[in-house]
Symmetry: C3
Subunit: 210 residues, 3 copies
């Protein structure tokens, strides 16, 4: 637990992010006619892939989800629960999912940025690590499902994560304590993401005309 | 050779798995109108990708196929041999391929599980490492060929690998020797996979209806 | 700078390769209707992905582009510049791009091969590392854009990189100095690639007829 600046609170936040991301993986996989092994695998990749990529890029070994099976167990449970739920009720409350996903985005961003700062990486690289932690699992999910990643397509999702990472670093530079800076950055990302969904914010598109 | 619990036998088994997986990569790539560089690359990724992913996730450096060129040489030879064979005879005995692939699945599963146990990882993570070793190369092959991975789609392939890894760990827990446990788990996976092909076993599918 | 056999010259060559590859990523992403975050991400993956893969496979930590932000800054600038240029002028000189890309191919090949030799890897693996450095970024770009990688399809691109890596190793075996061997191998790859474009060289294709 020593490795967690903000202690056990952020650890449980992170596990709830894992659960939320696993649910999005399950729902995406469910649109592709996969079997249960495929669904669970894609859910785990969605939930744990961002953190694994970050750890590999920073050579932060052992990888968090490899040395400790909690992430795996939470991801599998969330995926199985979603499958049973969807089969039983034939319905799924998208709003709950979006809120949970926004929460995962917020926590993963701060966690990834923080880990990079602890390893004394330059601030611009710390931002990349925060965003990679938050976004790469979803990119892997979409690649495995043979789709162009959603996050690359006009949705204000990754940019909020970038702003959140920048905000977190700036707050720490201003000598604000880790706990307060984490809380503010997490709240900022979470609220912005909910607002982006609510008012359908979009980023400008870039098209090459041949 | 010290690193191999079950000694040189499993090493040669593993190289034959590499060859079998390289052949499947070559045949898949041959359906995509690629040039010989593309075909050989996809074959190598299919054959060596699972082991490389396992080693990176466990920080087991140097990666087996990087420090020793045998895997590379066997993979390239199998791929070139398949291309020449297919061009000359215009035919290919699928049965031989499926048997060799089942053998590769069995050996890679046990090898990956065993390596994770040697690193004192939790049992659930050891199962994941066994399955990842056996399956991830094929997933990378399908992603590079722009297909939803075959292994995610209603075929009893990965689940046999999971059961084989669980069986191997259980046998070791029962104080059975490494050699015997390896042999039983390999035989179990191999025979189950052949049975799954023979009687067309399928896993239940999970579909989300919007 | 000590790590660079051929000193600061190759370092600046490498950054220009990063810029060229980032431009190809931007143009490819521009055909997929992505937003600016998607475009920049794909550009960075194209430019830095090959080097990152090489470093991970060789356990050469810290990864070059993680510990030092120059690669990131050059990649982002090249991508933003391309977007602004394309939007303003509605035109893009493909010839400049192809020349820059050929230059990147040449420098990345020699750099990757050289790093593997420094780690005492076998020559065949050094060739793979050279080619992976030069080619894997483009493969990742195409996978993220949901395309079968261009480099696998009948273009004399990767094979020139292979020949360049082999030439570099052979020259070093002949006791030629690092500076001269680098210069010759870089020139060889660059000129061959331009010739391949100019005279439309193609590799034979391999098709499986069912």
């Amino acid at each position: 637990m020593k490795a967690y600046h903000a202690g056990w609170v952020i650890y449980y936040c992170e596990l709830s992010g894992v659960a939320a991301f696993a649910v999005t993986g399950t729902l995406m996989a469910g649109r592709k006619s996969l079997d249960w092994f495929g669904v669970i695998t894609i859910s785990l990749v969605t939930a744990l892939g961002g953190g694994a990529l970050r750890d590999v890029l920073m050579a932060h070994y052992p990888i968090e989800w490899v040395s400790n099976e909690n992430g795996f167990l939470v991801g599998v449970s969330a995926s199985l629960g979603t499958m049973i739920w969807a089969r039983t009720l034939k319905t799924f409350n998208d709003r709950v999912l979006l809120v949970a996903d926004a929460f995962g985005l917020a926590v993963f961003t701060v966690r990834g940025t923080d880990m990079a700062l602890q390893q004394n990486l330059p601030p611009s690289i710390a931002v990349i690590m925060g965003v990679a932690t938050a976004v790469a699992g979803g990119v892997m999910r979409d690649v495995l499902c043979n789709e162009v990643p959603l996050v690359f397509k006009r949705e204000v999702y990754a940019s909020i994560s970038i702003l959140g990472a920048v905000a977190y670093i700036t707050l720490l530079d201003l000598q604000i304590s880790l706990e307060v800076a984490s809380a503010i950055a997490i709240a900022f990302v979470f609220v912005s993401r909910i607002a982006a969904i609510r008012w359908k914010w979009k980023l400008p598109r870039f098209d090459v005309v041949d």
